[in-house]
Amino acid sequence: MKPAVRTGSHYITGDVACAEGAIAAGCRFFGAYPITPATEVAEHMAERLPDVGGTFIQMEDEIAAIASILGASWTGVKTMTATSGPGFSLMMENLGLGVCTETPCVIVNVQRTGPSTGLPTQTGQGDMMQARWGSHGDYELIAIAPSSPQDCFYHTILAFNLSEKYRVPVLVMADEIVGHMSEKVVIPDAKEITLVSRPKPKGRKDRFRLYEPGPNGVAPMPAIGEGYNVHVTGLTHDERGYPSMTVEAQEQMMARLKGKIRNNLDDIIHTEEYLMEDADIVIVSYGISVRTGLTAVDEARKLGYKAGLFRLITVWPFPEGRIKALAKKVKAFVVPELNLGQIRREVERCAFGRAPAIGVPHCGGWVHDPDDILKTIKEAAR
């Protein structure tokens, strides 16, 4: 076998960096289905997994790909799949199964432009709301947005760690440009990478309850084949994991599914701030749009505007608290994104009328011209 962590400095694409991040995080099962611009994640995993004692399978469609990683995860293995818009749509039902059964797994969506086949396969950020609400019913999950190949490496590890810790599917919401661009990616020594594994049950097997929450609200998870005789269902279930068709059971299950995320927001939400100390115009941005946003901030500063950038690494759950606090002191938010205002609306909701959230909409296909963002900053400052 070869070392799982390819320590060193590499010049690789974001897609390959996602795959390397996954291997470094301990991912040993990948269920694939090809789709540009995510195919290279699968291709790289197909080549790498045999090196490190893992399995790769190209399934018959994306529904099968996600179903396979959910199954594989219950054997105690860390699992991933990668897709783009059309495949992401096909995965929605089983994403819900993953949430409901609290199955750790990572799904990479290298976004392209939609709706439908759209502009294959140019960049877009139009799946952000689908990431949040695409499966039916109410639920919480975690979504992370990388802005560079280096991020792809670290954020995929972060995705695995959060997924394992909170027993929830985690989405890595990249986009075509981040996925396809080649940049320097530094992979550290294996021992410098912090890895988290799902909590394991202790104590007597006959007293074990599959969904009895631990101290942070997350229930320990046995692997199958260990003699726990677990029953896992997408039906509303009680703490034993048994179906329970009552309003009370639904309430209890939902409280647990929601609570384990909402009560740990400080741990889950990762953000970055750039020139925010005195900023009165705040760009709120994520993914590829952070890069154009930063250029616009620098330009604005040169012209004397007090611009700053608030970067969402974790997009879901949304950093409501920080936006709320900022809304009290800033003049306006500017939200450039490669869609017609999905996250802008979220910012507006959290700002609660205290500061306007001005979009810089873009239909996708290419990134913003930083001048368009700058123009919006100037307007907002007026």
């Binding site: 040993r28 045999p50 399995t55 099968a64 179903a67 594989a72 054997t75 997408g234 048994y242």
Partner: protein, 289 residues
């Protein structure tokens, strides 16, 4: 009778069922329970490490089986039991993975997964309860409904050609294919035992009465009438050419073991091939040293 005396009466298959979930939801006269009994019997007789058995169901009346068997068991989404099971098996090759689901689940919405798992010779056993309809949703026409049978979405009778599931499985490469009716309790048990002892994609179809919907709508009488029909009209033909085992409405049902052959499984093919191409640096996957 006092409770302690009842211990005597304990059914020997109770060890394989989640007795704390009984009573089950199935209608009186439904055949699904009989197939579960055969499955439990087969498990009892098998020499498997029961901790290493996993049962996966999709959604439907039959989909509820996963909730009643005392193994690691998964009640997944409609049609997706097979790819879920594929993940289980590949990530832990030590497991014996059994998919237990309905005809609609396996051959309708999940048909694509079914043919691909057979093609890959994925090492799983698929037990398909074929009641000729989508029962859970109230008796709609299915991909297995015989011509002319009446169902709620075929109110004037079915005019679509049905699947011959045994032929489909065979054509896609399954290494074990058998068909029985739920009347053939011992045959089903034996068939499950045989299939469990094999490696590769095994498929057992069990024709099963849905008394409440299929039988009532087609005026076929109660469960007993259907079992009588199975008794009168089943014809055992081991090794029958699967192309010839179509089922007509209330017609002859050819039962038996149609296919029993050996060929390398997905994982065996993967290991052999990667060893050949990558040489010594490849460590065979899932093989105990």
């Amino acid at each position: 009778m006092k409770p302690e005396e009842r211990v005597e009466e304990r059914n020997p298959i109770e060890d394989f069922l989640r007795m704390d979930r009984i009573p089950h939801i199935w209608c009186p006269g439904c055949g699904i329970g009989t197939v579960v009994t055969s499955f439990a019997e087969a498990m009892k007789k098998s020499e498997l490490d029961l901790d290493k058995v996993a049962v996966v169901s999709g959604i439907g009346c039959t989909g509820r089986v996963a909730g009643y068997v005392k193994f690691d068991s998964f009640h997944t989404t409609h049609g997706r039991a097979i790819p879920f099971a594929t993940g289980l098996k590949l990530a832990n090759p030590e497991l014996k993975v059994v998919v237990f689901s309905g005809d609609g689940d396996i051959a309708g919405i999940g048909g694509n997964h079914f043919i691909h798992a057979a093609r890959r010779n994925m090492d799983i056993l698929v037990i398909c309860v074929n009641n000729f309809n989508y029962a859970m949703t109230g008796g709609q026409v299915a991909a297995t409904t015989p011509l002319t049978a009446n169902l709620s979405t075929a109110p004037f009778g079915n005019f679509e050609y049905p699947f011959n599931l045994a032929y489909l499985a065979d054509a896609c490469g399954a290494t074990y294919v058998a068909r029985w009716t739920s009347l053939h309790i011992r045959r089903v048990t034996k068939s499950i035992q045989e299939a469990l002892a094999k490696r590769g994609f095994s498929f057992i179809e069990v024709i099963t009465p849905c008394v409440t919907l299929y039988a009532r709508r087609n005026r076929l009488g109660d469960g007993l009438n259907l079992l009588k029909y199975y008794y009168d009209k089943s014809e055992m033909k081991h090794g029958a050419d699967t192309r010839t085992v179509d089922i007509d409405f209330q017609g002859k049902i050819i039962v038996g073991k149609f296919v029993d052959k050996d060929k390398p499984t997905f994982l065996e093919c993967m290991n052999t091939h990667l060893q050949k191409t990558l040489g010594d640096k490849y460590v065979p996957y899932g093989v105990k040293p």
